[in-house]
Symmetry: C2
Subunit: 534 residues, 2 copies
Amino acid sequence: MRSTMQDTPLTVPHFLHRSAAYFPDRHIVTTTPSGTRRSTYGDWATRVGRLAGALDELGVGAGSSVGYYGWNTASQLEVYFATVCTGRVFHSINARLPADHVGYTIGHAEDEVIFVQKSLLDGLGAVIEKGHNRVKQVVVVSDPDDDSPVVDRTLDYEAVLSAASPVGLSVADERLPASICYSGGTTGLPKAVVYSHRALYLHTMSLLQTDNVGISESDVVLPLVPMAHANGWGLPQAAVAAGATLVLPGRDLSGPKIAELIASEAVSVSAAVPTVWTRVLPELAGKDTKAVRELCSGGSAASARLMDLAREVTGRPLLQVWGMTETGAFAALARERSKDAAGRAAAVRASQGFPVAGIDMRVVDPDTRTPVPRDGTTIGELQCHGPSVIASYHDDARSPEAFTVDGWLRTGDMAVVDSEGCLRLVDRTKDVIKSGGEWVSSIDLEHALLAHPAIASAAVFGVPSEEWGERPVACVVPHPGMALDSDEVLRHLSGRVAKFWVPDRVLILGALPTTAVGKIDKKALRTTFEKTDT
Amino acid sequence: MRSTMQDTPLTVPHFLHRSAAYFPDRHIVTTTPSGTRRSTYGDWATRVGRLAGALDELGVGAGSSVGYYGWNTASQLEVYFATVCTGRVFHSINARLPADHVGYTIGHAEDEVIFVQKSLLDGLGAVIEKGHNRVKQVVVVSDPDDDSPVVDRTLDYEAVLSAASPVGLSVADERLPASICYSGGTTGLPKAVVYSHRALYLHTMSLLQTDNVGISESDVVLPLVPMAHANGWGLPQAAVAAGATLVLPGRDLSGPKIAELIASEAVSVSAAVPTVWTRVLPELAGKDTKAVRELCSGGSAASARLMDLAREVTGRPLLQVWGMTETGAFAALARERSKDAAGRAAAVRASQGFPVAGIDMRVVDPDTRTPVPRDGTTIGELQCHGPSVIASYHDDARSPEAFTVDGWLRTGDMAVVDSEGCLRLVDRTKDVIKSGGEWVSSIDLEHALLAHPAIASAAVFGVPSEEWGERPVACVVPHPGMALDSDEVLRHLSGRVAKFWVPDRVLILGALPTTAVGKIDKKALRTTFEKTDT
C-alpha cells in the first residue's frame, strides 16, 4: 500500500501567497529617522514579484546568492522573499562582524548581487574591492529621508524595482537552499549554515504554535534581532505566515526609541538579546504596554534582575528562548507548564526550558553518548536533532567535529536536565572550568554575581593554575554611577557559592567586549586578563 | 550550494516520544460504563512499545494493515500508535457503516489482524466470515467491567500485551503509509484515503497553532469524533504531540453523559458533528463549563440556533471547522479576525472561514479553473491543494474524476468567496439545484428553514421539473412536542428568500436519514420523496 497524499513541497512562497491572499491590508511598518513608513502585505507582495523580475534582469541565476547589508526594514523583507521565493539563496550580511569577516562571508556565500543601505555603502565598497568574491552588482537602498543622487557604479533600488516586470513566485523542491546565515564564533572565521526551504517552513510553522511563541494574526511582531541572526530568529517570516502586523525597527535600536515603538505600535511579540532588553525595558516604565504578550530573550542567559524588570514594566515575564543558528532559532523555550506552582514556574523561567515540538534534544556524556540521569545536577553535552537542525557546515573543514557519529549536532553547551526534562545550561564546552577535579559553572557563578545590586554585567572564565589545574576569574561591570570593588564582590559571593567557586581575582571593567552576535567575548577577556595579570 | 540541514523524516513516533519524555504524568482518561479509567502518557508509551512487540509476534509484517473496531478509548490509542510507529498501517473501522461496507473496507484495506471491543465481536465475526479478506487473527479488547472468559479462536488483548516484549518505535521514511481512512460517500462503496506519516505530522503540527485550534499542554482534549473519521479529525494525535490531557469518551455519546464529562474533566477542547452538539449542548446548561475554550463543529453546517446555544451555555461561540477525510480534517476554520466588528464576526462564524496555514484553496469555474471573483455571490467549485491533501484514492477506479488536471482535489463543494477571502459553502456539487437557469442554494435554503423556531433539522434537494428544469423540495423535522405544517413553513420562507427559491413541496418528517459519517443522506431522502410523490 502506498500513501495517496499530494507531494506538495514545503516551501517559503506559501507564506507570502497566504498573507497576500488573506491579509492584504495588514501593515508592515518600518521605522525611519523621521518617523515610520507603512505598507501592506498586498503592496509588499506586488513589489516582491517585481523585485524577483529584477533579479532575473540582473542575471542572478537559480541557486545563486543575493546579499543584503542593512537593518531590519521592509526593503530587506522584500529582498529576502524575492530571493528565496525564486529558488535563489538569501544572505543577510552581519554588519556587526569585523570588516575582514564581512568580506569573508560575502566571498564564501558567493553573493552575486548585494543590496545595501546607502549609509553603509562606503564601508561595503571597501570590503568588496579588497576581497575575493563574485559580486557583480551593488544595488543601493536609499534611506527614506535621503534623496541624494545615485552613487557611481551602483544601481538605485527603487529604479531597479520600477523598471522590472513581475514574475511568479514558487519553488519546486523543499530541499533547495533558501538562505545562508553565518554563526558567529568567538574563535576563527564565521561558519555557514544553509537553510533549506523545508527547514525554514517547519521552523515557521512551529513559531505559530501556542506552546511555542504562538504568532497569530492578532499579533504585532517587532523583530529586534537582526535578520543576519538566523533570519531574525525566524520572526519576520512567521509574522508573514500568520498575517500578523510586522514592525521593523530600522537602524536605531536605542532604548528610548524601541520603548516608544513598542508603546505606539501596540507591539505584542518581540525578541532580542539581553543586552538590548537591558536598555529597552527601563524605558518602558510608565508606558502603555498592555498589548505586550511575549518578550523573548535569547542568545545568552537573562539575569534575574532583567526578568524582574520585565514583570515590573510590562506585567509579563520575559520568555527565554534557546537556540542557535545551527538549530533554527527557537529550539527550546523556558515557559512553565500550566499546572506548575509559582516557585517551579520561576525556576523554569530562569532555565532553558523544554524543546519545542519537532526538535529532539539529549544531554549526554560526550564520549559514550549515554544520557545523563535526570537529576538536575549531572552535567552532559546538549545535542540536537531535527528537520531544522544542521547536519554539517557549508564548505568548512571544521564541520565534522560539531557532529556525533550518529548525526546529532553537538551544541557546545553543557547542561543538566531535571526530573521533568527541563534543561538548564551550565557552561559552554569551551568555557568549562575544572578546579581540583571539580566542575565550576561559569554561568551559575555569573548569575550569583548579577544578584549584586551594583553589578550590571559579569563574565567568569578559567585561568591555568599549577595547584588546581584551573581557577575561576571574574570580570564585572558596575551599573553607571555605582561604586564597586573586588572585596565587596568577593564578600557578596561567599556563602552564596561553594568556597572553591569563589574566583581568585575580580576585575572591575567599564564594559565587557562582545562578539558580532552580541555575546560576551570571553576570548577577548582572557587576553585583557593576561595583560593585567602582572 | 546545497542545504546543510539534517534529513530527519517527519514521522508520527516523534509525538509519542515527546509526550513520554516531557509529559509522562499527564492523563489519558477513558470513559467506561461504570466510571472512568486513567492512565498516563508514560504508562501508555510503555504499553505501546509492548504492543508493537506483540504485532511482530502476531506476524504482521512491515506495511501491513491492522484494524480496530470499537470506540474512542485508550486501547484504540495504543493500537493506533503501536501500528503507525512501527511502519504498519492503521485502519479504524467505521462501526456506523452498513455491514457489507464494513466487510468491504476490511478486505480493501487488507487488514491482517483486527482488534475489536468485545461487545462488537459478534457483529464483526459474521462480517469477517462472509467477506473476502486477509484477516488471520482477531484480538478482543474486553470492556473494562467485563471479566467473562476469552472467546474461542480469538486472543485476549491484555494477555497478548503482557506476553510481549517491547520493541523500538521509529519510522525511517515520512512518505510511508501510516493510516487508511474511508470517506463515507452517499453513493457507492466508501473510498480509501491513505495518509502518509508526513501528512499526519504536518496536520498535527497545524492543530497546535494558535490560529488553528491551538492545542496546548494546558488543554484537556475530548475527541467525540470517532477515530474512523480521519483519525478523530487528528485531535487524539495532536493531544499526544502537545502533552495535553486526553479524554476518550468510549461508547456512550449521549447528551447527558458527554455534558457531565465536559464538566467533570474540565474539558477545554472538543470536536463533533452538529448532531452530537445538538444533544450535548442543552445538557451543558447550568454545568461548570469555565474550562471550555473551543468546541469545534464540523461535517455539516451548524444552525444559527446551535451557534446561539453554544454561547448561552458555555459563553464561547462554536468554532466551525471545514475539512474532509481527503484534506486532513482541519482545512479551514470559521474564526473571525482580531479586528472584526461584531457583525462581521458573526458572519465569519456562520461561514467556513479561512484556510489554515499549509493548505491552499481556490474557488473556480470547474471547467476553466478560473478563480471566481471575490464578490461573495459568484459560485464556483472549492478545490484544495497541500501536503495533507490527497492526490488520488487508494485502489479505486473512481479516483480520476475527483482531481483536476493540475493536481488539485475537487472537493465536491460549491462555494463563494468574499472580498477578504472568507469561504462560504452554498451546495454540494451533486446537490446543486438549477431552477429556470438560476441557482438555488440548498444550504442557504436549509439555513432559512432552520431559522423557524419549530424546525429542528431541514434538508433541501432538487427534483426534476418540466417547466423549470429542477425545483427545490424541502424535508423538515419539528422539535419534539412542536407542531408544524407545510403552509406554516412556506409562510415562514416567503419574504426571507427569493420567490423562485420557495420549495414546491415541504414534507414534515420524524427524522432525517443520515450517512455513516453522520451527514444528512439526500439520496435516501429523494427515494422517500419519490415514494410519497403521488
